[in-house]
Symmetry: C2
Subunit: 345 residues, 2 copies
DNA sequence: CTGTTAGCGCGTTCAG
DNA sequence: CTGAACGCGCTAACAG
């Protein structure tokens, strides 16, 4: 096991001081050409690389940014990471990804670990458990410690930091409106428990669309899925009563794909009997039968924007940095789970 | 912006030396009870946390392990990460994830970055470009630098390190055999270019199954998909000739799902006319119509095993550490893209 | 019981 | 042109 080469070792090798070596390697004019060349050649040969740890300690910055996401086996989050990674690379930053696994405790642990000198800034999306507990002290502490923070997707109003969110409400509105335009009148909503902010927002968009079109909200058509139970069972209640929906908006891809399968098992045809729209960036949508119309979230753009804001803040010496909330537009991606209606004016 | 609290600051606060504070916080018996209590209370109050960077520099280890994967928007790799993360947490290690994006250059960069004192060990899966270039010097250098390495899934024979692979050949064999048992005789293979090791292995399993059953390999039924072109177009050649397959084995989920759609567009029914089996852990398989029978890869187990081996090596002081290659069993997950055949003995 | 010193690896004054 | 000294934050061996 060849030990890593350090300035010290090179210095000893040449019988010069460490600082001479340091300067020589930086091509400082203070050092004689001859010494420089010899030292540089030697260092090159042994693949000398300054130790990151030492550099970080000295410079008090790491050129690394931390990302905390609730889940890694999740297409949307990986898309966001792609966006972050891409820009980070261009800017010479490394990315450290941590997974809270939707747990409050792990989120706090991850944050403490990252805050501890490991990264120059953090990009985070709040775990479900944290949203449920409604306890965000760790975020405030982070900010108090002077570590820049950007929240994305699942954000918290009362935290004062940069934020990037998708236009959840707008996207849901678009989806519901599309169903209405296509002639649906009994539109169901399959959503998360209300404490999940994005679920809440998307529900609002749904409610807004229906209300504006003078359709009363029917709570029997709204299902808040508990992820710990069977999704199939929970959504099948939609088809058991007399008032079966003719349109369904689901706040994510899994719910949408599942409800299509369940609808079929009850003898309904998608999109002829029931039209379905999901919400996501996912891969499943393309491969269901029929392929699933969705509201596109643009996770990649989101990640990129989040990092952009973070670097902005890191670079800003401003004591009075102005925090922004950036909204990423969502739009409909029509596939085959909705009818192709011809509109005439 | 509250500056981080350090030993030095606490020392100044109490008018004692830094080492006294250090010892007090470690509850050293050398320090008087009274001083200890006061210092500990103070530190607690200000949330003192030793700076990781300084600790790492001093201890020459970081309690962090690096993971290099070719792609993050990929269900299998995220599964592997889940496995790594889980065990890492239990063992008090952090995980740093880097994405090579299937690029040789990024893989090398990631590796250099990680090797530079940032992590205690690395778990990696080789990028496609690297496999294509067949240039693995960076891996050997890593090992020469004394940094433990575990390769998983896409591994390289000539590198001497711990490895974890799925039983690709065996899984493919199972799949092809299942198709044969179900009565298929014209079995197509949809695979990657041959330089992708897992594609190569899976092809071997396919060939073995057919050969053992005295079926000649028909190269018209073997498609090596070029990811840069349209998958649909490439696989549709299967249905254009006279010799249309009655069974298809695809080396991943996307190819399998795509070929099902294309088959349908040509008027074939899955599984009645054509049976299909894919290879993966993915989410798409559950939501296609019909749901896709696959060879399960157990990515999570793979990640866990990889970290296990890595920690083994890190902890071992052994100069003569014996490297192992661990094979994760694969098995068939029968869904609805294959027929349910009753066998009698 | 407490403090001094040294060292992890590096870069940057400041003297010589 | 070169080197000694300092500091980043921490611990440990050694003095007192």
């Amino acid at each position: 096991m060849k030990q890593k080469i350090t300035l010290k070792k090179i210095a000893k090798e040449f019988g010069v001081s460490i600082s001479t070596v340091s300067k020589a390697l930086k091509d400082s004019p203070e050092i004689s050409l001859e010494v420089k060349e010899r030292i540089q050649a030697f260092a090159e040969y042994y693949h000398y690389k300054p130790n990151s740890l030492a550099l970080n300690l000295r410079n008090q910055k790491t050129k690394t940014i931390g990302v905390i996401i609730p889940e890694i086996v999740h297409h949307f989050f990986t898309k966001v990471i792609t966006g972050i990674e891409k820009l980070a690379n261009d800017k010479g930053y490394n990315v450290m990804i941590c997974v809270s696994n939707e747990s409050y405790e792990k989120e706090v642990l991850n944050m403490e670990m990252l805050a501890n000198g490991v990264v120059d800034g953090i990009i985070a999306s709040v775990s479900k458990e944290t949203e449920e507990k409604d306890d965000y002290r760790h975020f405030n502490e982070l900010i108090n410690n002077g570590i820049p923070l950007v929240m994305f997707d699942r954000v918290v109003d009362q935290i004062n930091c940069n934020k990037v969110i998708a236009d959840d409400k707008g996207g849901a509105f678009l989806a519901a409106e599309q169903l209405l335009k296509n002639g649906c009148s009994k539109i169901a909503l399959i959503t998360t428990p209300d404490y999940v902010t994005v679920g809440h927002e998307r529900k609002e968009g749904y409610v807004k669309a229906l209300t504006e079109n003078n359709i009363e909200i029917n709570n029997d058509l709204i299902i808040e899925v508990d992820d710990k139970l069977s999704i199939e069972e929970q959504v099948s209640s939609l088809f058991k009563g007399d008032f079966v929906p003719d349109g369904i908006f689901a706040v994510n891809e899994i719910y949408a794909a599942t409800v299509m399968t369940v609808a079929r098992s009850f003898g309904y045809h998608v999109p002829d009997d029931i039209e379905v729209i999901g919400f996501t960036d996912g891969v499943i949508s393309e491969f269901t039968t029929p392929s699933l119309s969705t509201v596109a979230q643009h996770g990649r753009t989101m990640g990129q924007k989040a990092l952009e804001l973070l670097l902005d803040e890191i670079d800003s010496q401003d004591v009075q940095y102005q925090h922004k909330t950036h909204i990423i537009k969502t739009d409909l991606k029509i596939r085959n789970s909705t009818k192709k209606v011809q509109f005439h004016n």
